[in-house]
């Protein structure tokens, strides 16, 4: 209580509220209110009437239906979680590697960076939204799919050699399978890392050059500089990228659960059930994210 009365502390707090209030208003109106409303929808049956909609309370029936009656829900939920767990480490490690390479000075690096960002533009909108039934889009997608199929075929070949090698090394077969699937799905992984690469790049750029200077003068090798300077300085952004990737994988347009939720809400017009679906899903994501984030944030280094 005594601290709160300190005038400088209170002045800081006032500035704090002043700076943050636009964001608070925005997030309340466009997130918190719809958020609460969707909880209400999930325990009701929503019926469209002439002058709007009507809610008929049905308790937890939608949740019951999700878990015990709906034929696909549990399986899709499990699939989504497993998919996330396999993709996450690949995406984060790959994007960090790519960002470190792109951060070095070489001729034409802006163009190189732009190339790595292109999949974000291509897969996140303009093209997908403009026209999904468009012929060209299909040609483009099938060309891409063809390329991935070719890559996959080659990947399988690589995978076989790799599998033989790894089998001979008597490692855990689960680990072997993981490595092989990582190699064969490299194309997909690469396509999903644009945003993460950019975040890491910006992070690498904002490390003060004087830190490197000091380390070099003290005689640190490149390896030491990487682990003692670059890595701690970038660690807050590792957390950003982990969280971003988890969320991106879960709510991506082509995630099986999102397809199911959209289908139930907008094709079958069962908005209440869809709200219940997404609430269970949301809680699952929340728990997983909580575990992952708390594991990571203990290792994050913050400048004080």
């Amino acid at each position: 209580m005594k601290r709160a009365l300190d005038p400088s502390v209170r002045r800081r707090a006032i500035w704090g509220y002043a700076f943050i209030s636009p964001f608070i208003v925005g997030i309340t109106v466009f997130f918190a209110i719809p958020f609460v409303q969707s909880i209400i929808f999930s325990v009701n049956e929503l019926q469209v009437t002439q002058d709007g909609y009507e809610l008929i309370p049905i308790g937890l029936a939608n949740y019951h239906r999700a878990f015990f009656i709906h034929p696909q829900y549990n399986r899709v939920l499990l699939d989504s979680v497993l998919q996330m767990l396999t993709e996450l480490p690949l995406i984060v490690i790959f994007s960090f590697l790519a960002a470190s390479l792109l951060n070095q000075s070489f001729r034409g690096r802006t163009v190189a960076r732009a190339i790595f960002f292109v999949p974000v533009i291509l897969t996140s909108g303009v093209l997908l939204q403009l026209q999904t039934q468009d012929l060209l889009m299909n040609a483009l997608l099938s060309a891409q799919a063809g390329m991935s199929a070719d890559a996959a075929r080659e990947g399988i070949m690589i995978g076989r050699d790799l599998a033989m090698l790894l089998d001979a090394s008597r490692l855990d077969p689960r680990f072997v399978n993981y490595v092989i699937s990582a190699v064969t799905d490299i194309n997909q992984t690469v396509n999903r890392t644009g945003v993460q690469i950019l975040i890491f790049l910006a992070g690498l750029q904002s490390i003060s050059p004087s830190l490197y200077e000091a380390a070099t003068i003290d005689g640190a090798t490149g390896w030491e500089v990487f682990w003692k300077v670059t890595f701690p300085m970038i660690s807050p952004l590792v957390l950003v990228n982990v969280i971003y990737s988890v969320v991106d994988i879960f709510v991506r347009y082509d995630n099986p659960m999102m397809i199911l939720v959209r289908d139930v809400a907008f094709a079958q017009n069962n908005y209440g059930l869809s709200a219940a679906f997404s609430w269970v899903y949301f809680l699952a994501v929340l728990i997983i994210l909580g575990i992952i984030a708390s594991a990571f944030s203990r290792r994050v280094f913050y400048q004080t």
């Binding site: 800081r12 964001f23 807050p236």
Partner: protein, 283 residues
């Protein structure tokens, strides 16, 4: 290039870097090369089976057709361009400022409610837009913002990802730097605007790219129904909705919609490099 001392770099290492980059880059560049090449294909090549990757007889017909269609649209085409530019620029600038201000105080000030607020932001990050689509529409209708630019701009100001990203960048600013500015008599806003923001320029330039990318592709969806307020992606979508006959124009449209974010990206990226050459926090 004197910006950073090169650490123990061998020619072999350079070669390895380059090889890895070229291999990974090739994967990512393919769709772009295909889109560019398609835009210059005459119709018969677009429908060729099996599809050809590269154009053989490049032509500008697709672009000519596109401009012809634009000239004949009911609402002057410049209006669509203005709508999208206005929404994109206002949304991006507003979002960067609002998110950075909130991130700055969340990271560098201590005040009651700050932790809870940050947790709400993380929650908001996780909720897919599909889930809140209907409640959001109802909210807009109640505020009376349906069929105005605000329905697209204002929600964009509070995108949670921007706040989260900026907060992590603000964490890299040493407190001593801000404190010394305060001791020199700078107001809190000056500290934020003149000290904190320049130090995290790579961060907010990245946010500009993300935000632009999201707003640039907005079609207005259900929120905007007056023809003269519709954004550009909607109008272009209408043009290529003509189906098979418009396949060539469609290729040109895809290229045009791609070019703008890529150009912005290149500009933003090159100024990130300039910042680091000129600034730098000295402790």
């Amino acid at each position: 290039m004197a910006r950073r001392r090169r650490l123990n770099r061998s020619a072999g290492g350079d070669a390895a870097n380059l090889t890895i980059l070229i291999l990974m880059g090739a994967f990512m560049a393919l769709p772009m090369v295909f889109a560019i090449s398609n835009a210059f294909k005459p119709l018969d090549e677009i429908f060729m089976f099996p599809p050809q990757f590269f154009v053989r007889n490049p032509t500008l017909d697709n672009f000519k057709d596109l401009f012809l269609l634009m000239a004949n649209s009911w609402v002057p085409f410049s209006r669509y361009v203005f709508n999208t530019l206005f929404i994109t620029v206002a949304g991006t600038v507003g979002h960067v400022i609002v998110a950075s201000m909130a991130a700055y105080v969340l990271e560098k000030h201590r005040f009651p409610g700050r932790v809870i607020f940050f947790q709400i932001v993380i929650l908001a990050l996780m909720f897919a837009p599909e889930v809140t689509a209907i409640p959001n529409y109802i909210t807009m209708a109640r505020i009376g913002w349906l069929d105005t630019y605000w329905a697209l701009i204002v929600p964009a100001l509070a995108f949670p990802l921007g706040l989260f990203l900026m907060k992590q960048f603000m964490a890299t600013i040493p407190d001593s730097l801000l404190e010394s500015a305060r001791i020199d008599g700078a107001s809190e806003f000056t500290v934020f605007w003149r000290i904190a923001m320049p130090s995290v320029k790579p961060g907010w330039l990245t946010l500009v790219i993300f935000s632009f990318q999201v707003l640039w592709r907005m079609t207005g969806g259900v929120y905007i129904y007056s023809e003269q307020l519709k954004p550009l992606p909607f109008a272009l979508g209408q043009i290529i909705a003509g189906g098979v006959a418009r396949a060539g124009v469609g290729a040109a449209v895809i290229l045009m919609m791609m070019v703008v974010p890529i150009v912005l990206f290149i500009i933003a990226q090159s100024s990130i490099i300039q910042t680091m050459a000129s600034s730098g926090i000295k402790e």
